[in-house]
């Protein structure tokens, strides 16, 4: 991404609050995400980071606050003010969501090609050969052998499934990708491969992203900015390298100090 600072945030949150009964999961979350930025949301279990992600992506409805997305089709829209139809359409075209467990983001019973092609078919692609070629190209980009195009994800390893999930999301050239612990539960070498892949794709496709993770190493590698959450609140935020190298808040300092040395 080169050139001048762009004029509008791609995603804005103001006063976002989500409750489950009397328990407040996240409270008064404010931020602006600018095009091309990857925002990391880190925190421990129960910090509210996943709830925040789900509210941003329209999967949960907050009790208070506004989330504004600068859509390519409709201009700035209130994510929770949209009709369900529009929100579902947005989430299949302009957004991506990479789940921690790839099974939640794939159709396990159909081939990899069908999985990748689905978003294209959902918006009217009707040429089998073209869809197949695009799907094969994407398998390549996520470093899965093209010979596996007709295999079902049940025959894939965990790392392959995750890469397939990534391809399935990116085929529609989304502008904003939500990621929930995209490398959680995977072997370390597999994680490394996927992180590299994500890093490369975010760069070449100029994606904006919100990435939830508890792993500060993942945050260091993938994110430009970081928000640290504790007990539903953002306790610190700033440039990733600055938050990790010069943490101001007591909780952030404790988190950073807790990283096991290798």
């Amino acid at each position: 991404m080169s050139g001048a600072l762009l004029s509008a945030p791609i995603l804005s949150s103001r006063g976002l609050t989500k409750r489950f009964g009397s328990r407040i999961a996240c409270r008064d979350i404010d931020f602006d995400l600018w095009p091309g930025e990857v925002l990391g949301v880190v925190g421990e279990s129960g910090s509210g980071k996943t709830t925040l992600l789900n509210c941003l992506a329209g999967r949960m409805t907050p009790e208070a606050g506004t989330i504004t997305y600068d859509s390519a089709t409709y201009g700035p829209v209130d994510v929770h003010g949209l009709s369900e139809a529009r929100r579902r359409l947005l989430s299949r075209t302009e957004w991506g969501f990479v789940n921690q467990d790839a099974r939640d983001g794939l159709r396990m019973g159909v081939s990899a090609g069908a999985n990748i092609g689905e978003r294209l078919m959902a918006v009217g692609a009707r040429h089998y050969g073209d869809i197949r070629r695009t799907a094969a190209d994407w398998l390549d980009r996520v470093e899965i052998e093209q010979a596996r195009l007709d295999d079902r994800p049940t025959t894939y390893s965990g790392g392959m499934r995750q890469r397939l999930q990534i391809a399935r999301n990116l085929v529609s050239k989304p502008r904003l990708v939500f990621m929930d612990e995209p490398t959680g539960g995977l072997d370390v070498s597999v994680q490394a491969r996927i992180l590299d892949l994500l890093r490369g794709l975010v760069g070449t496709l100029n994606l904006s992203a919100v990435l939830v993770t508890h792993d500060l190493g993942v945050a260091r590698l993938l994110t430009h900015r970081l928000m640290v959450m504790q007990g539903g609140r953002v306790v610190e935020d700033g440039l990733t390298d600055q938050v990790l190298d010069d943490p101001q808040d007591a909780y952030t300092q404790m988190l950073v100090a807790s990283i096991l040395p290798v």
Binding site: M1, E37, L195, D196, L221, Q242, D246
Partner: protein
């Protein structure tokens, strides 16, 4: 006209785990660097040289003061700037050679070096050619270019670091012990490259432990231990 202007820069570290212990490091630092100048930061260990340098890059957060950099046609204030502002300045204007190459798993050395240029819009082939040239000058053999730097020696990693930081012609360069792990032969190559940048108009702020390197590159000295600074023991 300066490319970088600092005034009133003040920073302490607060360690909450030790009962909010405050360690003041910088107080009211002021300096300015113009294109073609190389300002060497000197002072005893712990006087805040590295803290100052990292603050200039936005890696450390100052408590007070102003850091203004000439970014394109404008002056940009970096203290308390929005992240995207700092990111844009780092992309095009401000380069940093740190002592540590944070190793990105699996990315080939040639790609590590070319990345900043490609991100700025340079054509990939051209960026790779430039990377090859820099790696060549810095003595990294071609057979290592397609390997990730994770398995390289400290000195090799440092030279990859330097190549990466020089792949873009940054108007302002910050150098933190650029020759620290290098043997004399490689050191000279680095000094030559930095010298060329200075001659081409870059404004440079650097920490050079090696006196001969400092003498070769610096046009001015700034003593961090003087005038109200470094009351504590952090660097």
């Amino acid at each position: 006209m300066p490319a970088l202007r600092v005034s009133g820069l003040t920073k302490s570290f607060v360690v909450h785990a030790q009962g909010d212990l405050a360690l003041p490091v910088l107080r009211d630092v002021a300096l300015a660097v113009s294109p073609g100048e190389c300002l060497a930061l000197v002072g005893p260990s712990g006087s805040g040289k590295s803290t100052l340098l990292r603050s200039l890059y936005g890696n450390y957060r100052p408590d007070a003061g102003s850091i203004r950099v000439r970014h394109g046609a404008d002056w940009v204030e970096l203290v308390r700037a929005e992240p995207r502002t700092v990111l844009d300045v780092r992309r095009r204007t401000l380069g940093f050679v740190s002592q540590f190459l944070r190793v990105i798993p699996r990315v080939a050395t040639i790609d590590v070096v070319a990345e900043p240029a490609i991100r700025l819009g340079m054509n990939a082939d051209e960026a790779h050619r430039r990377a090859e040239f820099l790696l060549g000058v810095l003595g990294i053999p071609a057979k290592l270019w397609s390997l990730p730097p994770a398995t390289f020696s400290g000195g090799e990693q440092q030279r990859v670091n330097i190549a990466r930081s020089l792949s873009v012609d940054y108007p302002v360069l910050l150098l933190d012990e650029p020759t620290a792990s290098l043997d004399p032969a490689n050191r000279d190559g680095v000094v030559e490259l930095i010298h060329q940048r200075r001659e081409a108009g870059a404004a440079i702020v650097g920490i050079f432990h090696d006196v001969s390197v400092r003498d070769a590159l610096a046009t001015r000295i700034h003593d961090v231990a003087l005038s109200g600074n470094s009351v504590g023991v952090h660097a």
